[in-house]
Symmetry: C2
Subunit: 341 residues, 2 copies
């Protein structure tokens, strides 16, 4: 990441952590340990740690949203904490549903403590997300709460589709884009909007941030899908080719299949064979990845991510946002598409 | 149930269902089908049904809370819908965690659609619970939202303890009571309070309803624990002795163990043998149930449930609540302890 962006997310992480820790402190001791572990604040025994707690892009967006309105980012802290709690609720539940054993280079919650603990830790974080906004004194709190609640519903819609698509062979690119909007873009857009709402943003700024967040979210998912196939496990913290093994209908895969031709048919045939995919060797998965690349899916997703980032930046430039936060939103968009984890 | 109570819960079910259906209509089609099935509105294919959707005690309490303040129960509808959504979110997640295959004489959500669907359907209902309160126009909405959010946190605490206790042999009665307060009484108390809060209840009435709901909730759990051992599967809709098989540290069990003597030691020894309990025959489980009865746990729980119901009624009688809703709250408490399912 460039200096400006690592500053932006580093500052967001620093600002939001005390609020997150205060909220997590309200939980029963068992749930508290699990949530603290998940956020990287302790190891699985509860011993203090400083592990990777994620990218803090969502809290950073929430704080920048307030600054885009010329308001102290402190005003946006409950919103920043809420979107980070919602994001992490969904990670803990998703890891369970996808049976992913590793995240951020560590064992996932269900892998360490079992299914019930993961269900309950996620439920607890979702509840805290609503609680932290209830504690906030902004006159515009209700609008922010609605933004977060609707984003939660969208998250569920996206995840339902993502799982359903694993066992379908006819997923269209339009369906896949709609799924990605629910699974990823909705909460990123909500993050960009929620801080501005708490700060009493004028409609034009709020709409610009919503548009920015929507495009940024789709760019984020496109890059995530690319990293899920071609990312370095040592950097991403996830097993190699895990998305291919579970036959996820990601954007580059779906584009390649839909784009037609003999390579598309070859890929579609491989995807349709569930038993085969589950037991495929790394070499075979590498061949499938190559198929997607030769079929154009890698190039398309890369180009599309850059196009989305450009559209996000364009929305900001039109909105008359102060130079400081505008430059940071700009840099954040660039870094989302250039990241390697 | 006596006429007055079946009227109370029947009316609540009738009043709250359109609001619930409107909220559930906001979900994606897959989640909507699952939630509609869970509420008994359709079968697993989506064909209209009129199955048992539960007892509607929580919505009934919410509506009576508004009437206790002399306000039209319509005012309490968003609160009634919110507590019913929270209750049902927790049922769907609990059935998954406890691996219970039957509820209300039908297959449970995870048993029909799998783990991921149950996690997501529960998440969706929890999100809708917050959304329905956000849509409400009461000037006292924030207090009601906080009541519901804190009850969710309590629910998680109770369920975490319930699961942890399954593998512990030294659970005290105090711990078991605290778990029951979280798992059951917190949301029943919130139900009694939330409608009154939306109606702008004076503090004395709110506190009386809170006390009423707390005692009623504990009575409810005591009876639930009794039915979990001695209930008729044909009436309860759950398998016989399921709580014993999973070595749940329910209140009658914990009381018997703590009460001491040779029967207590015999029960404790049986509970400590996990592998044995899992494969026990119905005959053996019947002997364990008899052990609890001879040890005094059944009688104690029965007496305690009646004591809690009496305390609940006492709280209402002191609060100067209008005769109509007071009589219904009174009857509801009697029926909670006299129910057979």
């Amino acid at each position: 990441m460039t200096l400006v962006t690592s500053d932006t997310v580093g500052r967001a992480r620093e600002l939001v952590t005390p609020t997150l820790q205060e909220m997590v402190g309200r939980l029963d001791p068992d749930s508290r340990l699990i949530v603290c572990y998940h956020f990287g604040w302790c190891d699985e025994q509860g011993r203090p740690a400083n592990a990777n707690g994620g990218k803090a892009i969502r809290p950073a967006l929430a704080l920048l949203g307030a600054e885009a309105c010329g308001v102290d980012p402190q005003m946006a802290l409950p919103g920043a904490a809420a979107v980070e709690l919602v994001h992490n609720f969904s990670l803990v539940h998703d890891d369970l549903m996808d049976r992913d054993r590793r995240r951020r280079h560590r064992a996932t919650v269900w892998a360490l403590w079992g299914d019930a603990a993961a269900v309950l830790a996620g439920d607890a974080m979702l509840s805290l997300a609503h609680e932290v906004l209830l504690d906030c004194t902004s006159a515009h709190r209700a609008a922010a709460q609605t933004t977060v609640a609707v984003a939660c519903r969208e998250l569920v819609r996206g995840q339902v589709a993502d799982i359903a698509f694993e066992n379908r062979d006819d997923v269209s690119l339009a369906e896949c884009l709609s799924m990605s909007r629910g699974k990823t873009a909705a909460l990123i857009a909500a993050s960009a909007v929620v801080g501005a709402q708490l700060a009493g943003a004028p409609p034009l700024v709020r709409e610009a941030l919503d548009t920015y967040g929507g495009h940024l979210g789709l760019a984020f998912q496109l890059v995530d899908d690319l990293l899920g196939i071609w990312g370095q496990p040592a950097v991403t913290g996830k097993p190699v080719y895990s998305d291919l093994r579970s036959r996820k209908k990601t954007l580059p895969v779906t584009w390649t299949v839909q784009n037609g031709g003999p390579l598309a048919r070859e890929l579609a045939t491989w995807l349709a064979d569930a038993a085969h995919a589950a037991t495929a060797t790394d070499d075979e998965l590498r061949d499938v990845a190559e198929l997607i690349e030769r079929g154009g899916g890698r190039g398309w997703a890369h180009e599309q991510a850059h196009r989305c980032a450009a559209l996000a930046i364009e929305a900001i430039e039109r909105a008359g946002i102060p130079h400081g936060p505008a430059a940071q939103l700009h840099a954040l968009a660039h870094n989302v598409v250039d990241r390697d984890a």
